[in-house]
């Protein structure tokens, strides 16, 4: 029982306590916050080294927490292939985000750093918790710091954006709370451990409702097509560090929720709703790309682009085969890196010109050559050019989608490849190319050392994951296989096993092990 996971989750909390007692000297505050997040990152690297590519959960800690009345909740944390990389992404992005606030935020720096570190605690907690109740606690805990970050240090109508973000997510997650309660009572006495919930055989009817409750909460977070309008507002109003973390990690909470909770808990409902969700995802891709094309505000454009990217992730996940889910997981991390980098870039030019309108820029590449190269690399990573990380994820998603039953959806979705090139390059051209007419642009300074240090790790990751993604995929494969086998088994079990045992008995014992790797089921 090693405590590495709890250590990593609560290092930022220790940082918060440290910051509380420190005097209000901005430089020192920022320094400590940066050190705390770096320590967190180094600790998380130990996770990668010790992580064995096996299917079940590792670094598990299970301590009794609440045992009152008919409920029993444990502090049960652990990670497997699916959540490992998301934890690493969080600890990787945090120091970068904190480093990017050096010149961006001047007033109330102490509260800002506290909010950022609290946000990190919430995110890490959500990724590592295996207890559904604990997951819900961290899921809601994330909202508070993000609300304050957007609300206090945001742009013009930050209040509207912050309140909209909060309540939008809140409504979804509260319905999920009811579903959690319902499952708990359906599963009988015991704790909120998800592995226990995986094994209960729910009847398809209740599965539908429960899946819808879960899916709504996660769809808002992803964000999927009709529920995405909070994202552009939240992004345009959030400060740079806030929107970097919002894009890089918070959006992954929704897709992670689908992979960890919604799909394995309700396999029949997943099978039934796959066409609907695939349709929404495809609409999301094409719709967001078209809308992104006509945006005047760079940040809004990048926000809509992340709606499109996450549409790809959803198709990958709901392809329900090895390539699709691996592609979806990879695309989550890629999107975190490339969109995080894009927001940092928008942050840089916003800090210099205090405007985000594309028309105010033009011909910057002559004025800021280093910035131009970095911006270009990130743009091509976001488009998904082979050799960069975007391509690997997108390719696997589309391949997986094509192989599963979602063929027509995947073809429409792969048209998103064209649209993403259109809007990204059109924006890139209007900002970077063309005549350097605007006098204000002529005096802009290029990136200073700090900004290059911020961008360097992201650029390196873009190429490393693009050229050599094997270590990432190998660590994911076993747990993805387990997920697929588990879901296929439960779906088939319902069809094959006559209703001998009531739902509570779960899978009849001795069910033959399906050959993993071969996408059985509807592929024929």
């Amino acid at each position: 029982m090693d405590f590495s996971l709890s250590l990593i989750t609560f290092i930022p909390l220790a940082g918060v306590l440290l910051l509380l007692v420190m005097p209000r000297n901005n430089a020192m505050l920022r320094g400590t916050a940066l050190c705390v997040s770096l320590v967190g990152f180094i600790a998380s690297i130990s996770l990668i080294c010790e992580f064995k590519p096996i299917a079940d959960y590792q670094f598990v800690e299970n301590l009794p927490w609440i045992a009152a009345g008919s409920f029993q909740m444990n502090y049960h944390v652990g990670i497997d292939g699916i959540s490992l990389w998301l934890v690493i992404l969080t600890t990787f992005i945090m120091p970068i985000a904190i480093l990017s606030t050096w010149t961006a935020v001047e007033e109330r720096v102490k509260e800002y750093m506290i909010c950022l570190l609290l946000l990190e605690v919430g995110m890490l907690g959500a990724f590592v918790s295996l207890d559904l109740f604990l997951f819900y606690i961290f899921w809601e805990l994330m909202l508070i710091p993000m609300y304050f970050i957007i609300g206090i240090w945001g742009g013009k109508n930050r209040v509207y954006a912050a309140v909209k973000f909060f309540i939008y997510t809140m409504v979804g997650s509260l319905l999920m709370l009811i579903a959690i309660m319902y499952i708990y009572f359906k599963a009988g006495a015991g704790d909120f451990d998800i592995t226990r919930f995986y094994s209960i055989g729910l009847d398809p009817a209740s599965q539908t409702w429960l899946f819808l409750a879960f899916a709504l909460a996660f769809a808002i977070k992803v964000p999927m097509f009709p529920l995405h309008t909070w994202l552009p507002d939240a992004h345009t109003e959030a400060p740079t560090a806030g929107s970097v973390i919002l894009a890089a990690v918070l959006l992954k909470m929704g897709t992670y929720g689908f992979v960890r909770f919604a799909m394995p808990l309700f396999p029949d409902a997943t099978a039934r709703f796959t066409p609907l969700i695939a349709t929404l995802a495809v609409i999301g891709i094409v719709y967001a790309s078209l809308v992104a094309m006509v945006q005047e505000d760079v940040k809004k454009l990048v926000a809509y682009s992340s709606v499109a990217h996450l549409g790809f992730v959803m198709i990958g996940l709901f392809a329900l085969n090895q390539q699709g889910i691996a592609g979806g997981m990879l695309q989550m991390i890629n999107h975190g890196i490339s969109t995080g980098a894009l927001f940092l870039i928008v942050g840089f030019i916003y800090e210099r010109r205090h405007t985000r309108l594309i028309t105010d820029f033009g011909g910057l590449s002559k004025q800021m050559p280093i910035f131009a190269t970095i911006f270009m690399i990130v743009t091509f990573s976001s488009i998904g050019l082979p050799g960069t990380n975007g391509f690997v994820g997108e390719f696997l998603v589309l391949l997986g989608g094509f192989e599963s039953g979602l063929r027509t959806w995947t073809i429409i979705a792969s048209s998103g490849v064209i649209l993403s090139a259109v809007y990204m390059l059109w924006m890139f051209q209007r900002v970077m190319f063309g005549e350097l007419t605007n006098p204000k642009n002529q005096v802009l300074k290029d990136l200073n050392a700090r900004e290059i240090v911020i961008m360097a790790p992201l650029i390196v990751m873009i190429f490393v994951m693009g050229i050599y993604p094997t270590p990432f995929i190998d660590k994911m494969n076993p747990s993805i296989d387990r997920l697929i086998v588990q879901m296929k088994q439960k779906q088939v079990a319902h069809v094959v096993a006559p209703v001998t045992a009531p739902g509570r008995a779960g899978i009849p014992a001795g069910y033959p092990e399906l050959p993993s790797g071969h996408p059985a089921g509807e592929a024929k």
Binding site: L399, F402, S414, A421
Partner: protein, 668 residues
Amino acid sequence: MFDNVWLIPLLPLIGFLVNGLFGKKIKNEAVIGGIGTLAIFGSFLVSCGILIQMIGTSPEHRVFEKVIFPWIHSGNFKADMAFLVDPLSVVMIMVVTGVGSLIHLYSIGYMHGEEGFYRFFAYLNLFCMSMLLLVLGNNLLVMFIGWEGVGLCSYLLIGYYFHKKSAGDAAKKAFVMNRVGDFGFLVGLFTLYWWLGSNQNIWTINFMELKQASHLLPYGGVVTVATLCFFVGATGKSAQIPLFTWLPDAMEGPTPVSALIHAATMVTAGVYMIGRMSFIFIKSPDTMMVIAVVGAATAIFAATIGTAQNDIKRVLAYSTVSQLGFMFLAMGTGAFAAGIFHLMTHAFFKACLFLGSGSVIHAMHYALHHAHSHDDAQDMRNMGGLRKAMPITFITFLVSTIAIAGIPGFSGFFSKDEILWQAFSNPYHGGLNMILWGIGAVAACFTAFYMFRLVFMTFYGDCRIQPKAKSHLHESPLVITIPLMVLGFLAAVGGYIGLPKLIGELFGGIPNYFELWLDPVFELAQEYGHTYAQVGGHHNVALEWGLMGGSVVIALVGITIAFTMYIKNTELPGKFTSTFPALHRAVYNKWYIDELYDFLFVNPCKAFGNFLWKGFDVLVVDGIVNGVAAVVKGWSGAFRYTATGYVHNYAFVMAAGTMAILGYYIFR
């Protein structure tokens, strides 16, 4: 030598990294140019080594695969970074590295004094690396890396003069069009992979494995779908009918770029892809017909536009599109070897033509610059009579023009005539062959016409340059003219390694070495082809001689028309345009294709985007969200007034409440 095949793409990559990262500091143009050229020249030497070693080995085992590292392994999908060396890829790497080195050398002179010199050579090296990856890749995914890599580099190089808005637009247009093609490529790849996997349980995208499994593929059906998608990819990359409008705009880039990318290497990627997967394409007769028809149509269509252009580089651009049309015609009629042969010869003379035009433009810039005049250095109307001022450029240009026109004895004749003959005599398309040959012949005539029109307008006739500038006109420096001479020589001599059998017998049975060389690659395709070929393709020798003579006559006719119109009485073109003004305007404006695409795709997308954003996103979705909030606020406002402050109202509500509860329960 086979083992270090990975050196070939690696050297340009190193060149790119060195120039890209340290170019700004080196500042000395010679060093930067040197690094770039040496990098590509190194690969050329390695390629020669591989060519020699392959000539040494017997034809059966001339296939060699080398895996560098496992790239993507997920479930049953395996894609490694691995290279395949076989006769087809050797031909391609020779062309790419050979012409590439010459163009690198040429650009040292041409780009002299440019502000982003290091950036140009870095991108050029990156382009060579991507092209070599494309050509050497042993599975579809590595080919796709090269495929998109060259698209990226063409974007960067076209947009080299990024301060010019037109360059930026052209670059974006090129990339987006390539991306449309890549979309087709991807869908084709998925269909093939999925069908083979789920039906035959062979999960692979490796060419050699696909070749072994190709006998399981049906004739037509899913193969047609897959190959058509691949063909969409090819049209995007090699600028065929639907997706060709980006190539003429790509002339915004510097001339060496046009020479390397838009003449010799990148645009031929589509032809290479069809060649590489000939054993799949041949299995669907419908796709072969589509390819042939599109090839022929592009050839004639681009040739007509070429005749009316005044910008020297645009004429060459349209001629490239037209020649590519010929290559696709060859591929479509199953004459894969002839297609690749024309690809090689075209690389030589078209690169020479582009570089020649570059040297002309270079000289014109220099002269006009000195004369402080602002008329366009690329417009043929203010050139003329340059043959005396620039003898070397003129001779090499003339040789290449003769080659492209298809005058016997030069490389163009052998390759183009072979294509026309194969189009006429191939067993696959029955009656269609005659039409295809006819279109091909007319297109060849047009080619001869506009090429010689270009030569006469620039080099012959009275000199229309600014009088003051005339004195400053002089030949380009050696570093520019050496590549011209080498390419000119190749253009002249290149044809002899692929002598058609007919002429071969005349001179004592010299076999068609080129076809022999490529036989092991395409024999499986020929074998599949024969299964459904109509029997009795007519092969009598007399007809072949007749057609060969016919194509020569056509070329001469083209030349004489050009001669009469542009040398004898120069007002003839004016008379011609005045008699058919509408036709001329249509041809000059590229049959309004660009405007059509804008009207069909670009503007509707923008309008739809705006509608979706302002209309749907803001009005509907946000409307609902804010609407719900407003409704709740409205209710809250309304309910708020129930608290009137009067005690008796409250008492009344309480009493009413009690009565309601009692009534509800007692009388239920």
